[in-house]
């Protein structure tokens, strides 16, 4: 038996090898310490940043959208408190039961219910999900009272865009809606605001054009979150900046009046200040309720809007194109005067005008007799203008029409302007490949044929006729964010003021001389008289057979075949301030349908002018909440 002492070889080997192990362990610890040094000291800044990124979540706060007001400060679009109920799933023991109880206060359809359950499934259990929106005050109060019985349901107040004059302004102010995928892509730079749930952007009208101004600057809260995204506490808050206020040129009182006057029709009207180009009223009826668009439209509501033959979704004032009809005779007259035709040049009208073997008819079958320029305008004699058109040719007419603003767009502040058509020889060859026919010159001379104009263009034309020959441009906005916008330039046009006087005189005859086509729709208030020009734009072809048996009266035709009724005018005659164009689709005749409506509106405009309230001073871009 051998004693295992300190001096044995086994012990020496053990000690040696223990030393090796100890050395290895020491080396391993050095590696650990080195790694710690690397992570905690050399790379510390980087990891600190990553840790902060982990824990700090920046949550955007939607800025309050800017208001839109009319020229006198009436609010046209603002933000309304939206009372709603939100549900936090994790605080709700039985979601189905809670919804049942909630439905005693607020109607929850099976469809809503499905949507709510889906939203709950998709979001973390601590995230509030909206279960009911747009509650009435009574419902909201009931919700508050019953809160103890509704575990997990919380009353909540959000902001919704609100349009107090919904129908009257749908086509000007437009509406807001959720951001579409395409809009998200199109956003030129990084726009985190767009990704905010429930964020709405301008979809049409002023809301769309001035979206960036109205939007404001997003605020942000910095919150500390845990690994599951639950907010632990708020670290800081930046309120952001509310959107800019937009002041329109519209006068809401006139707008309301005009809308009321035209509400039964499929019509549009534009009232302009002839010097500044400010649009005082901009009507397109029927319209739609943008508030509904904001909340989301049902399939049925949408279908009704699309299928309506009166086309409530179309902004007829800028996107509705109509043959100008006899309102265009003012252009033919100017062109003739510029071509050297004497205003006293007389044409005998017997109801027909022959060109080659083709007969052109006057609207008055029995004829007007001898017509000079004044009478031709006053009676709207087609034969007289056939004659003028034939004398001067299409290109002379085209030049004048374009000078007065037809066939172009004006960069109006709302999208959707259409150019229309002012035909010429070149235009026809380029678009149809067929050369111009002289007969086409004749019908262009009375505002038919290829001609297509929008009511806005006609209003501009009327303004330029009335303001002594300044190329005024229309505008809809006076100020953005408290800054008054510069007035658009209105350069002097190449037109002889004498020529304008002659045409203005003719228009005065239309309205204020017995026998004028709009004499029955004149303004009798002294000093407020308007001068106008009627137009009835034919939308169907009248066959020879029908001419022989007598042209059918408009009121015997079905609606879509009746003539469009047009009227352009300015007032007061003595010292013009306002111009207007009004179109009633299939209204029958300019003198019967359009002129009376225009007369009423123009009278209101002038009365309103006398009782004009204090001009609205924009309050800068700071707006009270």
């Amino acid at each position: 038996m051998q004693i295992d002492g300190r001096d044995s070889s086994r012990y020496q080997t053990f000690t040696r090898r223990t030393l090796v192990l100890g050395g290895a362990q020491a080396a391993a610890f050095v590696v650990l310490a080195g790694r710690m040094y690397y992570l905690q000291i050399l790379k510390s800044d980087e990891y600190q940043m990553l840790a902060e990124e982990n824990r700090i979540n920046v949550r955007l706060l939607a800025p309050l959208r800017g208001r839109i007001v009319d020229r006198y400060g009436s609010v046209l679009a603002s933000n309304r408190q939206n009372y709603r109920a939100v549900l936090v799933a994790e605080q709700t023991p039985n979601i189905g039961e809670t919804l049942d109880r909630l439905s005693r206060i607020v109607a929850i359809t099976p469809f809503d219910r499905k949507k709510i359950m889906r939203d709950i499934d998709r979001s973390p259990r601590f995230m509030p999900v909206t279960v009911a929106e747009d509650l009435t005050w009574e419902q909201f109060a009931q919700l508050n009272i019953n809160e103890p019985d509704l575990a997990g349901v919380q009353p909540d107040v959000g902001e919704t865009r609100y349009y107090p004059y919904a129908m009257e302004l749908a086509h000007v102010v437009g509406y807001v809606g959720p951001v579409s995928d395409k809009e998200m892509e199109d956003a030129d730079d990084e726009q985190p605001l767009l990704k905010l749930p429930g964020f709405r952007i301008g979809k049409s009208g002023i809301e769309k054009t001035f979206d960036q101004d109205l939007r404001g600057i997003a605020g942000a809260t910095h919150v500390e979150v845990n690994a599951y995204g639950r907010v632990i506490r708020e670290l800081s808050k930046d309120q952001g900046k509310p959107g800019a206020e937009i002041v329109l040129t519209l006068d809401m009182e006139i707008q309301k009046f005009a809308c009321e006057r035209l509400k039964e029709e499929s019509a549009s009207a534009v009232v302009m200040d002839i010097h500044s180009g400010d649009i005082l009223s901009f009507v397109s009826t029927p319209a739609f309720d943008p508030n509904e668009f904001n909340m989301g439209l049902s399939q049925d509501q949408w279908k009704m809007l699309v299928d309506n033959p009166y086309k409530p979704l179309t902004n007829k004032a800028i996107a509705g194109l109509y043959p100008p009809g006899s309102t265009f005779k003012t252009m033919t007259a100017i062109a003739a005067l510029e071509a050297g035709v004497d205003p006293n040049h007389t044409v005998g009208c017997n109801g027909k005008y022959a060109l080659g073997n083709h007969l052109f008819h006057c609207w008055k079958k029995e004829g007007h007799g001898a017509m000079n320029m004044h009478d031709g305008l006053k009676h709207s004699c087609d034969v007289y203008f056939y004659d003028l058109a034939k004398r001067i040719g299409i290109d002379a007419i085209e030049k004048v029409a374009k000078r007065f603003g037809l066939g172009e767009t004006y960069d109006l502040e709302i999208p959707g302007e259409k150019k229309g058509i002012v035909p010429s020889r070149d235009w026809k060859r380029a678009t149809t490949g067929v050369s111009w026919q002289q007969g086409e010159t004749l019908i262009t001379g009375i505002g038919q044929g290829f001609l297509l104009t929008s009511p806005l263009q006609l209003a501009v034309m009327a303004s330029r006729l009335a303001n002594g020959g300044y190329a005024v441009k229309p505008r809809l906005t006076r100020a953005v964010g408290g800054q008054l916008l510069p007035k658009p330039e209105a350069p002097k046009m190449e037109v002889d003021p004498e020529h304008l006087k002659i045409v203005q005189g003719g228009m005065n005859g239309v309205s204020n001389e017995p026998g004028g086509t709009a004499y029955r729709a004149r303004i009798t208030e002294v000093g407020m008289e308007l001068a106008g020009k009627t137009g009835s734009a034919q939308v169907r072809r009248i066959s020879m057979a029908e001419r022989d048996s007598g042209v059918r009266k408009n009121d015997t035709l079905e609606w879509r075949l009746r003539d469009h009724a047009l009227f352009i005018c300015f007032a007061p005659v003595a010292e013009p301030k306002y111009a207007m164009a009004l179109v009633i689709e299939h209204g029958g005749s300019g003198s019967g349908a359009a002129a009376p409506a225009a007369r009423d509106i123009m009278l209101e405009v002038q009365k309103r002018n006398l009782a004009r309230p204090q001009a609205y001073v924009p309050r800068g871009d700071v707006e009270e909440a």
């Binding site: 295992d4 905690q40 845990n226």
Partner: protein, 382 residues
């Protein structure tokens, strides 16, 4: 300094042993554990429940076990080494048959009152058995092939069972600490070279037999950015937590990564990360320094011991302790793949704490009985 006669001449009394017990060492263990208590208190957002208090109770219990184990005569430990190993082997086998799955692996044996983790017991038993075996061999005998069969079986059988559970971390620990005893017992170098080559050759086979999650851990280790939200998430978040701690840390109870749950398993496997996040480089180094003292002390115990059984046992305890510390901290620093190995004394966990204190009891027993000269004899199975 030491009165050798006192221990060689006659048997030691309990009071002698209590005098010899290194209470300072126990205090050091208490200090290290306290860093764990503090972290568990912090994880619970400043509360002793559910972790810190339980862990403290376990430490006190463990300290009691340590003292009792230390007082038991080393010769008795030597005598019951094989039976203990046999019991451990039965338990490990039992886990394979009746154990239930905890954390996705089959490691726990439910004994009614306590859940036992037999692989923890095996870690100690394997050291006892190997120390016992090598004690009986001279240096020349150690390197004889026929004498290697038994110790290899002692290691391979439990490793095979543990791998099946599957508990790769423990299997590696068993293999490596067993291997270290072969080394310390004086096995010729050529065997280690051969063994190393064999392991290299076996790598493809092992790789083939790994579970998907184990393979993913290796992939993730090699490239943590591969899947930052999935498999790589743990290690990435751990590095962020560690790194963001900086020199002095974010302050006690102020670690954002840990408290906001970005850091996984922070009361168990990733507790070192949390400590480094809250107490910084300084705190982490302090813990490593304490561990170093434990290691240095246990080495000195091994070297001082006058019998081969005690030497090997003390070294075995020391080396497995080292591997725990190293594997865990290297893992949380992203130096090793994620393996479920706790940080000794600090990580929350009952069996680990108790078996570790048991092992330190053995270390202390070796220290108390360091002057015993035990005959090599050859009573291998009693």
């Amino acid at each position: 300094m030491l009165d050798l006669r006192r221990f060689t001449g006659r048997e030691m009394r309990i009071s002698d042993k209590l005098m010899e017990f290194n209470w300072g060492f126990l205090l050091l263990l208490a200090v290290i554990s306290s860093m764990g208590f503090a972290m568990l208190y912090s994880v619970a957002d400043g509360s002793f429940s559910p972790w810190a208090l339980k862990q403290m109770i376990r430490f006190v219990l463990g300290a009691g076990i340590m003292v009792v184990v230390a007082l038991i005569d080393l010769r008795l430990w030597m005598r019951i080494s094989y039976p203990l190993y046999a019991i451990a082997l039965v338990l490990v086998t039992a886990v394979d048959i009746v154990g239930f799955k905890g954390m996705g692996a089959q490691r726990w044996l439910n004994l009614g009152i306590i859940q036992l983790q037999p692989s923890e017991i095996m870690k100690v038993a394997i050291l006892l058995a190997l120390a016992r075996y090598f004690h009986g061999l001279t240096l020349e005998e150690v390197s004889r092939v026929k004498n290697l069969i038994v110790p290899l079986l002692i290691v391979v059988v439990p490793v095979g069972l543990v791998v099946k559970q599957p508990d790769l971390g423990t299997a590696i620990l068993l293999t490596v600490s067993g291997g270290v005893l072969f080394f310390a017992a004086g096995l010729a170098w050529r065997y280690f070279i051969l063994g190393g080559l064999a392991v290299l050759a076996a790598i493809p086979i092992i790789w083939d037999r790994l579970h998907d999650y184990q393979r993913n851990r290796v992939f993730t280790f090699l490239d943590p950015e591969r899947d930052p939200l999935g498999a790589g998430y743990h290690i990435l978040q751990s590095k962020i937590a560690l790194g963001s701690g900086g020199v002095f840390g974010k302050g006690f109870m102020a670690g954002t990564q840990a408290h906001l749950n970005f850091l996984p398993e922070k009361q168990t496997d990733f507790i070192f990360t949390m400590l480094c996040e809250e107490l910084g480089f300084v705190g982490g180094l302090t813990l490593l320094a304490f561990y170093s003292v434990v290691l240095i002390y246990s080495f000195s115990v091994a070297v001082q011991c006058r019998n081969q059984f005690g030497r090997l046992l003390a070294l075995g305890v020391s080396v497995s302790f080292f591997f725990y510390v190293f594997i865990n901290s290297a893992m949380v620093m992203g130096l090793l793949p994620v393996v479920g190995v706790p940080l000794p004394l600090v990580s929350y966990g009952g069996t680990a704490m108790l078996s570790l204190m048991f092992a330190f009891g053995l270390l202390m027993s070796v220290y108390i009985h360091r002057n015993l000269e035990i005959a090599r004899g050859n009573n291998a199975f009693w």
